[in-house]
Symmetry: D2
Subunit: 399 residues, 4 copies
Amino acid sequence: MADLAASESVGVWIFGARGSVALHAMVGARLAGREGFEDKLGGMVTNVGGLAQVDLVDLPNLVFGGHEIRPGGALDEANALAQGGTGLSPSLVATVADDLQAMDTDVRPGCAAGLGPWRDALEGAPVASADARAEVERMRGDIEDFRARHELRTVVALHLGSTEPPVDQRWYEETDLQQLLVSAGDELPPGVLFAAAAIQAGCPFVNFTPSAAMDLPALRNAAIDRALPYAGKDGKTGETLLKSVLAPMFLQRDLRVLSWQSYNMLGNRDGRVLDQPSNRDAKIAGKADLLRGVFDYDLHSGVRIDYVPSLDDWKTAWNLVHFEGFLGTRMTLQFTWQGCDSALAAPLVLDLVRLLHLAHRRKMVGAVAPLAAFFKSPYEGPPADFAQQMSALTNWVVG
Amino acid sequence: MADLAASESVGVWIFGARGSVALHAMVGARLAGREGFEDKLGGMVTNVGGLAQVDLVDLPNLVFGGHEIRPGGALDEANALAQGGTGLSPSLVATVADDLQAMDTDVRPGCAAGLGPWRDALEGAPVASADARAEVERMRGDIEDFRARHELRTVVALHLGSTEPPVDQRWYEETDLQQLLVSAGDELPPGVLFAAAAIQAGCPFVNFTPSAAMDLPALRNAAIDRALPYAGKDGKTGETLLKSVLAPMFLQRDLRVLSWQSYNMLGNRDGRVLDQPSNRDAKIAGKADLLRGVFDYDLHSGVRIDYVPSLDDWKTAWNLVHFEGFLGTRMTLQFTWQGCDSALAAPLVLDLVRLLHLAHRRKMVGAVAPLAAFFKSPYEGPPADFAQQMSALTNWVVG
Amino acid sequence: MADLAASESVGVWIFGARGSVALHAMVGARLAGREGFEDKLGGMVTNVGGLAQVDLVDLPNLVFGGHEIRPGGALDEANALAQGGTGLSPSLVATVADDLQAMDTDVRPGCAAGLGPWRDALEGAPVASADARAEVERMRGDIEDFRARHELRTVVALHLGSTEPPVDQRWYEETDLQQLLVSAGDELPPGVLFAAAAIQAGCPFVNFTPSAAMDLPALRNAAIDRALPYAGKDGKTGETLLKSVLAPMFLQRDLRVLSWQSYNMLGNRDGRVLDQPSNRDAKIAGKADLLRGVFDYDLHSGVRIDYVPSLDDWKTAWNLVHFEGFLGTRMTLQFTWQGCDSALAAPLVLDLVRLLHLAHRRKMVGAVAPLAAFFKSPYEGPPADFAQQMSALTNWVVG
Amino acid sequence: MADLAASESVGVWIFGARGSVALHAMVGARLAGREGFEDKLGGMVTNVGGLAQVDLVDLPNLVFGGHEIRPGGALDEANALAQGGTGLSPSLVATVADDLQAMDTDVRPGCAAGLGPWRDALEGAPVASADARAEVERMRGDIEDFRARHELRTVVALHLGSTEPPVDQRWYEETDLQQLLVSAGDELPPGVLFAAAAIQAGCPFVNFTPSAAMDLPALRNAAIDRALPYAGKDGKTGETLLKSVLAPMFLQRDLRVLSWQSYNMLGNRDGRVLDQPSNRDAKIAGKADLLRGVFDYDLHSGVRIDYVPSLDDWKTAWNLVHFEGFLGTRMTLQFTWQGCDSALAAPLVLDLVRLLHLAHRRKMVGAVAPLAAFFKSPYEGPPADFAQQMSALTNWVVG
């Protein structure tokens, strides 16, 4: 099996195929293997340590396609992003310009069903079809055509779209996918339809957003029925990553956290969508959960997210940790994280494709617990302690 | 053995017995077991998780003594410290005033041999004896009297004194302790004499400072000859702790650190001593080593320490981590740590007494590798990754 | 006139007489003139420069009284505050204990009329009287009794109470005070009743809170009718002070501010009240106005305030200024302010008493424009540039 | 006179003509007046307020020339800088490429006399001539040729080179320029020779560096003899600017500064030169002086500068201000400034050309006191309070 994985062509189907994360990932994958760009692929977990020794699909062998509601080709979008001060420079875009244009042939019109109250934030989005089931069928067909066209054995599908509002609690009662699509129909946010289409098309699935997608029993059952692995939710790229690194130290040193306040600012499309309170709440819940998963006592914590357009893709987060130590002494830690969201997320997307492909080859089914290290709110796996999560990941991959 | 450890009386001999760390530790130990003060003992590693389940000596059963070059009783010193804004408040000092006064009978005049060029920073220090061997003998006798007087089976000795200048390289050639004391004599800094006295008196020994003490083969050999365990060096309490928590994340996520700059300020007696360049260099070396122990590539790093009297015991450290991710994107993390040095160190001192007592009961000899998590520059043990170090510690204690 | 002001006894009537700001101010005033406490009165504008040369009432000659809705005496409240880590230490409280107890005789039950939706935040507050006019009369009587009892020529009254919800726009139409009290009655927040009582009692009045108090034409007219000076609103003590110092630099250097985000945390009673959205909005409006008063272009700005109980009186504010310079280069300034609210506000309260007394002696009537430097939202005066405001203040006092 | 200034051609002679500051300034000046680039000229003091109303030379009318020790043309250097993440993007460089190439004809080989111990930091620098007088003569001739060639009435000369070591105290005794050049000869750092050449050529002169240049009486006398105005020293662009904005607030509010610590990092050529202790000391002295100029009491302050190559032109400075207020309460302010050095300095260079041209037209001679706002260590003028300095500047220009 070992030789096969690296050299096999693997499909990558992205919901949100011309978003910033997707384009960063595609440009990186197309630079891989080219001479002179070896140092451009930092940020991938599968680059280092034991994980770098394992037989995983080679990046040049990834074949990209996807759905996208925005008009415009990949090259134009990439050139627009190249003004944003990330590593995606005009010269890197020029290097892979032909690849980007070629990919356009594998991108299909996206689904805007269920955009609901936040449609205003996505000007230009097409009007949703009223029929969720039809949309899922259409998307499934697109993925199957893609697989056939490129003669791929495996297509890993990923939700890289915008943050969505939560799903009504009663749909958590429904256990059958077809029934869910019929009954809930236009109440379902896009991520649920993406997951449904991917699973129906037989794709291992990654929910990189806070979408309710794989939280719903109907979708989990469908994945298990089809013997598919899945992973999520909500990529752990910046502030929450730091929390999962720092919080265990406070616990292990018995430095009692009194308050942990987080103030986040971002200015990209995701920030605009998060400016809608219902979307923001989903994101904040994920960020807040983490601390509860580490500490065995109640602590005061708060998470704020503000849309600050001038910051663009540069997510800036400030945290204050107020804690109490020996003899009741109160102390503080502050940090400021200035990270480029897309540049942090894109390499993890490539990691997840490689690792979900591995899980599929290993015939794993359902939530892949050892991938918890990648997510803010993992479906399963070790507690929210990054070191423990990385140890579990390494043991799984290497062991 | 299990029941015995908790209820056994264990001696704690502190070199620097009326320093701020020592007094914080003593006040905490004397509050332990008193009703209403249960929440004052935070910051101890042995309070939490698996370590809290193990049979370790109870804090009320610790018996304190030590050497001190400063005049003045423990109660006066504690009252002076109680103005410094740490948790050591006037009312806590009042609660244990009788205990503090009682301890004065077990404190003996310290040794100022080898103070060398930094004596100016310690005004009031007694003139050093010219004869290192005689000083060691005197201190050994003090410890043995203390053990006999209190009928103690074990006395754990700790160096909590000030930072010292380095020892000349040629004394690393000498392997016999008596010969070292005769030949190197007044070139040896106090920590070496402390360690020699402790070992000759049969005490497990902790070097909580950057002193060269147990780096010298002559001392290591002596400890092994006497079948004694030891641990060190330089307690990992603040900025360096954070580095050992954060650095592994950058490595595991393949976020290449370009520069890691550290700026430290402190205003206590230790700060005054560190204002002497030769002492500062020893401290800085320990802090810088840590990053080299984590990363397998060269990175630019710098550590600055400044004496800022108004900050007193409130060590403030600012760090900038400049790193590179996917497509060469450059990002930053900054943090500011405002910690009270004594309140962070004192609980670790109590932990180390309990754990070195355990090591001694388990007949361990030489450097106790599983204690690496407590130190900036551990003598032995897992690499400078705090999570790995804590895992090794727990496995050793519990396993 | 010169000798008279310093040596005259002047009354200080505080609405919120046992709050933290009031008690800090009272303790400071009672320490003034005592030997050994000369260095405890920092933070007063009238201590330094030209203002220190002018004949203003001496602090020992201030006579304190006020209204308070909380039960409990000043000494008990001060002792409780003395645990909070501000400069108000137990030993300072002990020094002026007799004075604090003596003041209790001049404190009268407060008015909780109009507490409205935020009463929950003030547990223990008495039920409001239904009759605003009667409450105003009662309070006016209390002040006049106080003036007579102490044979005072002038009593300066200050609103140091909690933040209040805004007043309905239609009450801005009413120009007659008696009519307002009759018509608006229980819709009026306490600050309006405080101002009404103070003015009716002939007191120069300071609104140190964001209360609508002197914004209402009915109150302004009443003050002018009685030939009284007044000042406000909302003391400029921390983050907003820094904004008014920094913003003019960005303007003068033509560094275009793209975004200015402010994140505030506080844990005292004021923080608890601000946890109520309607109260918070009033406070935020004041903070946001300032930038609009400096810059002549639109910039993105946001202010967040969170209640973080463990911080107590230590208001912590983090700001990000994202700005653009030459060739479109984008740069940032961040700051963290860790200030003790009461310790910053109390000296300004004493300054304002001295300066409003001066204004009254100088027969000034209405809003005192040169006092703009003290307030977030000054009623009148130079633009929100601290340097200009201080220059105007000095010119007025000295010139 | 009014119309003439704006439309007159004015020469700008830069010592360090292909350094980053010079190239940023030249690119900006060449973009001025072109349609679509109006928003690229931010950061200039003469853009805003009263100063924008005054008749000053128009930027398109500036004619650039200078001395440079580095080989390579302006276009190549600008393209290299355009990779550094400042606003100087490849597309802006392309826009003015012809202008940059044209300027090369007016750049002459620089003078490396007196580079002394820091020459290593400037690899590629030509060997110094042994004869300081001959070098001055040569540079004077170059400037005069430039003035004649372009038929310029005025040429303003600016020292934008690297930081230099201090000049021996005894040369402060010498009052005659020719005698100084003969006696001190190769002990003089380049800035002194630059100033000498500029003054001999009849140019108003700006020392934008910490060079001793115009500190020497011999040079001051020469400027006065030739009826020339001059300004300096050391541009106030970042951290020191903030200090001069913030420090007056602490003074005016009587918040006693206990400690003010500054930690600076930079990675450009200037940073490399500052890595040499003797050069660094000159820079640090200027930064530290400022606080002494504001406060009338002693405070603890420290300035550290570290060379951090990865930061390139992005100077990052962290400051801690520890201060004491009412009742002795101790509080802190921290700030982090992340500024692009060249983008902050270049617009001030253009301002200074315009304003020194104004001073010359107004027949001012010697140090121009109203320009203090531009410098860390002004030769003359109001104290180090930015608001007062800006007020003085405005009064002079407009008044």
